[in-house]
């Protein structure tokens, strides 16, 4: 009951004209990022953080969160109509969505995706309202060993799920930890790895680093491939689904919500996994699994609902425990910190107005996206006709201005350029970037939790294993990592056997 009252108060704040405008701008910008290939949600949020500098904290967070879930809507449009996923989570939608579009049912696919995303997003927000406050109360009882264990679990999941090689993913996770160590030591304040540069005393700046690593390097990868113009070849007749399409989608939407919501609760998961998992579930429960890939509405409804439910549920560990579960949420975590707000168990106590207004804005943002997206589909597709040779320099302008305006420092533009090169090289070497981004942000927290734990026990590592919850979570992390190593070993063994059989 108390949560409902707080939520209503949150609605009153979120519905103020200014906050409504921020939700609207965020939703539109998010959709734009989702539509455009070559910039994902993580780089996109980082790129647009400077736009929120002159906005009050609540408005800024509302806008950035709307950008995040707006990308999920935007990515669907290009996946369905032109077979180009604007962001990774929508890649699976290409399989059936594009086939539907070729049959003239693209409008129906987009409508179902938008409605599914709306339902998934709203149910996940209700879940957030119900689950986050008690989880936050539980989080208040956590000590440094428990927080350390939770962060290890998140890191192990991200590394296990990133790319084909667990060793490469672990190297990148450790590389992120290393970057997080640059600057003042979190406990004693001694400078580390600053190379005498005053600008590095505060650490490697989050926004330029992410923009370079995830944003500019992605732009470079697109620039590297031959440019091609994207045309809408598929007919967009009616936006209204048929009765059969409605009927076929209902179950998928609710299953997608369940999948996306459950995965959003686990630190280390991402929208791509939620969408894929939902697609697998839909195939499993379908009476016609062989027809998937030929234009089955369930193949659009499930994954699209799942990725949006995930996007909203992923705020639960952030708000209640202060643990960002995915790279995009980690960037949002950084934005919270820049605005002087530390997500975590105390958030509901210390900043109730902010947190409830942001939660209420999720519902409002989803309504805005549902109402505006379908009529504006033509505009979003028209944007894709602008040659990329004009688009990418403009993206770079935003990145440069964004990097500079964090501290009004040219040094930060240099940091962005450096990480652009590194990001491009890492992509070439198939080294996953997500673990580095997550551990870069988690690193200082992880180090602080570990050091506090060891201070509590006077240097005895046993403290982490002697506390039941910390030990259980660490054991889970270890099992997950071992499981991924075994799976990789088996997969490689099978590949070698198949190769030998061919010879």
């Amino acid at each position: 009951m108390e949560a409902l009252q707080n939520l209503l108060h949150g609605f009153a704040l979120a519905l103020s004209p200014l906050n409504l405008m921020y939700a609207f701008i965020g939703s539109m910008l998010g959709t734009l990022i989702g539509v455009l290939p070559g910039i994902g949600p993580t780089g996109g949020i980082a790129m647009l953080i400077p736009l929120t500098f002159r906005i009050d904290t609540t408005g800024a967070i509302i806008m950035l969160a709307a950008i995040f879930y707006g990308t999920m809507y935007g990515g669907t449009i290009t996946s369905v109509l032109v077979n180009v996923p604007g962001e990774a989570a929508s890649a699976i939608t290409c399989l059936d969505g594009y086939q539907m579009a070729k049959k003239g049912r693209g409008g129906a696919a987009l409508s179902i995706a938008a409605i599914g995303s709306f339902i998934g997003g709203v149910i996940a927000t209700v879940g957030l309202v119900v689950a986050a406050p008690p989880l936050a109360r539980m989080g208040l009882r956590f000590g440094p060993p428990e927080f350390f264990a939770l962060m290890v679990l998140g890191t192990s999941l991200v590394t296990g799920l990133s790319g084909k090689s667990i060793v490469k993913a672990l190297i990148m996770a450790a590389f992120g930890l290393l970057l997080g160590m640059v600057g003042m030591d979190p406990a004693l304040g001694s400078p580390r790895f600053t190379f005498g540069e005053m600008e590095l005393l505060g650490g490697v700046e989050l926004v330029p680093m992410i923009m370079g690593l995830m944003g500019v390097s992605e732009v470079l990868s697109v620039v590297e491939t031959p440019m091609r113009e994207v045309f809408l070849k598929t007919p967009l007749r009616s936006l209204f689904p048929t009765m059969k399409e409605w009927k076929d989608s209902v179950g998928s939407i609710f299953r997608g919500t369940a999948v996306g919501f459950s995965l959003g609760l686990i630190p280390g998961m991402n929208t791509l996994i939620a969408a894929f998992m939902s697609y697998i579930v839909e195939r499993k429960v379908s009476k016609e699994p062989d027809k998937f890939g030929t234009g089955m509405i369930q193949g659009v409804a499930g994954p699209e609902t799942a990725n949006n439910a995930f996007a909203n549920a992923a705020f639960i560990p952030l708000f209640s425990l202060g643990i960002p579960g995915s790279p995009a949420i980690a960037v949002l975590y950084g934005a919270f910190l820049m605005n002087g707000v530390t997500p975590g168990p105390l958030l509901f106590k210390e900043k109730p107005d902010l947190v409830w207004a942001v939660i209420a804005s999720f519902v409002i943002g989803n309504v805005i996206l549902l109402i505006l997206n379908l009529p504006l589909i033509g505009m979003w597709v028209a944007l894709l006709r602008i040659p990329y040779s004009i688009f990418y320099p403009l993206i770079l302008v935003f990145c440069i201005v964004g990097a500079y305006s964090i501290n009004n420092s040219v040094f930060d533009i240099g940091i962005m350029a450096l990480f652009s090169v590194l990001g491009y090289v890492f992509r070439k070497l198939d080294l996953p970037l997500a673990p580095a981004v997550l551990t870069f942000i988690l690193g200082p927290m992880m180090e602080k939790s570990l050091r506090n734990s060891l201070e509590m026990s006077r240097g005895d590592f046993g403290i982490i294993f002697s506390r039941p919850l910390a030990a259980a979570v660490l054991a889970m992390a270890a099992v997950i990592l071992i499981m991924f190593v075994v799976m990789e070993y088996l997969r490689k063994g099978q590949a070698v056997r198949e190769e030998q059989a061919e010879v």
Binding site: R192, Y392, Y404, E455
Partner: protein
């Protein structure tokens, strides 16, 4: 691909050795608990172990063949290098020449030079991206760099 991975793993190994040595120069343990050198030492050690495992794996086990699109065409590779070079030149030139002039040159080069977009469009977009963005951010109370060269600074650039 094998050679590339070997170089990359050796690069990480070198980084790990550097981190361990730097970490050793910091205090490892204090009276109240672990010091600033504690975490770098262990993370450096972890990277070193992983780099050695990676080096071993790519040296003694079959390596996946290079993906077809790994090496871009000469034209596209030069394009990427040109974009990166433009970014570096921008970073170096923005202080002396100021945001507007540097960004104008940057956009003229990328859109007109590399993108071969029609001159009229190139100029319009470059002006919007330099003078236009400067104006917009001034309204947002973010002052973008002005030229440190007196001659340009005196002319309001």
């Amino acid at each position: 691909m094998r050679r590339l991975y070997q170089v990359a793993s050796l690069g990480f190994l070198a980084l790990a050795v550097f981190v361990i040595f730097e970490g050793r120069r910091l205090t490892y343990y204090t009276d109240i608990g672990p010091g600033p050198g504690f975490f770098p030492f262990w993370v450096g050690g972890f990277i070193a172990v992983l780099a050695v495992i990676w080096l071993g794996a790519v040296s003694f086990r079959p390596v996946e063949p290079m993906p077809e699109d790994f090496i871009p065409s000469r034209e596209r590779a030069l394009h990427v290098i040109a974009v990166l070079a433009a970014l570096v030149v921008f970073t170096a030139a923005v202080k002396p020449f100021g945001f507007r002039l540097t960004m104008l040159a940057f956009l003229l080069f990328l859109i007109g030079g590399l993108g071969r977009v029609r001159l009229v469009w190139t100029v319009i977009i470059a002006l919007a991206g330099s003078w236009g963005v400067y104006y917009v951010f001034q309204q947002l109370q973010v002052s973008l760099p002005v030229a440190s060269i007196d001659f340009l600074n005196n002319r309001g650039l």
